[in-house]
């Protein structure tokens, strides 16, 4: 709670928290802000026509229609849900794998630790984005096929961190006491060790949500992630690529295809980074002075 109070006191992180709150509200209120058609998949952006050329903002469609007449306003609102979902799923599984492998390595030590850590090193030296692209080119594009390799190639820092934390508290008396009275290993790890080692890892992990959303959207932008018409900011920006140079004499004619989805992305990521930045300063005892 002390941390939370300090986050609220700092003007920069307060701004980040407010931004994030706005996005959470948008995600929660999506069915009311942009009601989907009865019986259709809400994550499919509705088309308001069939011509290719984007339509500028009007009273009826406040943010305009992008290529193929996909509604930009609808896409941004439901895209917020996609962003949260993608970010949270990836982070959850990364942290889970990292915590399991890290605690096993640290708790049992010895040869098992050595093997698991070399295993981590190998995964660490894999070119991250290229790995995702290899996976997608083999299993085909799609949001799930982007998230799987992002999880598989992203758990290593958490494993290392949790291992370091556990090594530091493994020799504490309460752990030794639990061992001597015969508590099972699983129970010692989950009841006594993890509660004291997990917190910084969880914070670090959740602060990564912004950068994960950037990566996934980037892949959608390349056409490797979300399919056409899916409510995903990166996918909407890939439409914009064909139109951003406007036409002769009016280069900024289709500005709304880039600016609105781009703004949504930047603000979303910014909110996470502002909070994360303040967190780092709070957690770093060397900067307390």
């Amino acid at each position: 709670m002390e941390i939370f109070r300090r986050l609220l006191k700092n003007r920069i992180s307060l701004f980040g928290l407010i931004l994030l709150l706005v996005f959470i509200l948008i995600a929660l209120a999506a069915p009311w802000l942009a009601p989907p058609k009865e019986g259709s998949d809400p994550y499919r952006i509705p088309r308001r026509g069939w011509t290719l050329e984007p339509t500028p903002p009007s009273a009826q469609y406040p943010l305009g229609l992008t290529q193929g007449q996909y509604d930009i306003y609808y896409g941004i609102i439901w895209g917020t849900r996609t962003a949260f979902r993608v970010g949270m799923i990836v982070i959850f599984f990364r942290a889970l794998i990292g915590i399991i492998l890290g605690s096993i390595a640290a708790y049992y030590g010895g040869i098992l630790d050595e093997i698991l850590m070399r295993f981590t090193d190998i995964f660490m030296s894999f070119p991250y984005l290229i790995g995702v692209v290899v996976f997608v080119s083999i299993f085909g594009p799609g949001l799930n096929n982007v998230m799987i390799p992002l999880i598989a190639l992203g758990w290593m820092p958490y494993a290392r961190m949790i291992r370091g934390n556990i090594l530091a508290i493994k020799q504490e008396e309460y752990v030794l006491a639990a061992k001597t009275i015969g508590v099972s290993d699983l129970k010692i790890i989950t009841r006594h060790i993890l509660p004291n080692a997990i917190f910084p890892v969880l914070i670090q992990a959740s602060m990564q949500i912004g950068s994960i959303v950037i990566t996934v959207s980037g892949l959608s932008f390349l056409g490797l992630g979300a399919p056409e018409g899916y409510a995903d900011w990166g996918q909407m920006l890939s439409f914009a690529r064909n139109w951003m140079l406007g036409e002769q004499g009016n280069v900024l004619k289709y500005w709304f295809t880039v600016v609105y989805p781009g703004l949504a992305m930047v603000l979303f990521v910014l909110s996470w980074n502002l909070i994360g930045d303040a967190f780092r300063d709070i957690m770093d005892p060397r900067l307390q002075a």
Binding site: I122, S125, F126, P127, S137, G140, F221, L222, G246, L252
Partner: protein, 343 residues
Amino acid sequence: MLSYVVRRLLFLPVVLIGITVLIFALISTLGPWARVATFVPSPDAERHVDLEAMIRKYHLDDPPLKMYARWVNNLLHGNLGWSQSSHMTVMEAIEKRFPATLELTLFAVVPVIIGGILLGVISAVYHNKPVDHATRIVAITLWSMPDFVLGLAVLMVGYGVLGWFPPGRLSAWAELEVLKESFRAFTGMYTIDALLNLRFDIFWDALRHIIAPVITLACLWWAFMLRITRSSMLDVLNQDYVRTARAKGLAEKVVIRKHALGNALIPVTTVAGNMLLGLLGGVMIVETVFNYPGLGLLTSTAATRLDVPCVVGVAVFYAIILVAVNLVVDVLYSVIDPRVRLE
């Protein structure tokens, strides 16, 4: 020192084997027919041949271990298969595209390192002063910019509005000049080759094309560099020996330049190495936005067309570079900072 380097060298093959096994395991999930493509050296060999014969010819029904050995053997002989999306062997495609990406990366690294370190130090020295807050906010905003959003913005302004920085790598006329016999290709990097050939018109053209992607890449990584330098400098400035130096009555300038800066830059070396790799990998999106024909564009095009041999070839190529650069950075690190060797 020597034992440290030897230990690192011994781990090198382990990493390479690990990475190739991972990639191979992914390829193995493909059906035999799709896998044939990663072995065939040219499209003619692939056509007119029936599946059974191909599978027999390339022993695709062997046990996995044997198949893996054959695949690695192929890699070692530079046979990475045929790329359907670029109509040449994967090896040729990489040879042709790599200089373009290297050129882009080298151009981007210079402003990132100089600007990032300079502003990082200033930001730390004036900790919590207006300068610090201002650079921090700018850096965080840039760092939150997805590369393709920033790239699209740069392209819209730089080309759409101002007309200064066209996409692509060369104009059509320069493209023809470069292919002529009289133009000697020394490095494959057009700006450098043009200078060596004393063709300043081509140099200017190549420069105009490369500036926009360089700005995009540099902005993103500049912010990262600044952050690392700032926190490392802050750390050093709080150390006892810096306080001692100040207590001796040394001028603040001397304390910062002679005493603090050297130590603050140690972690920056690792980051610089990582950045070089990140730049090489991150070019995929930037090259696609600017239609700049380097390795990144090659990879993303290949991936959207499900050209597995090409993507796998580039992945192996990157992995080797990655491991090599990591090794160099680690060894350099142990030279600069003796404490590392004692671990």
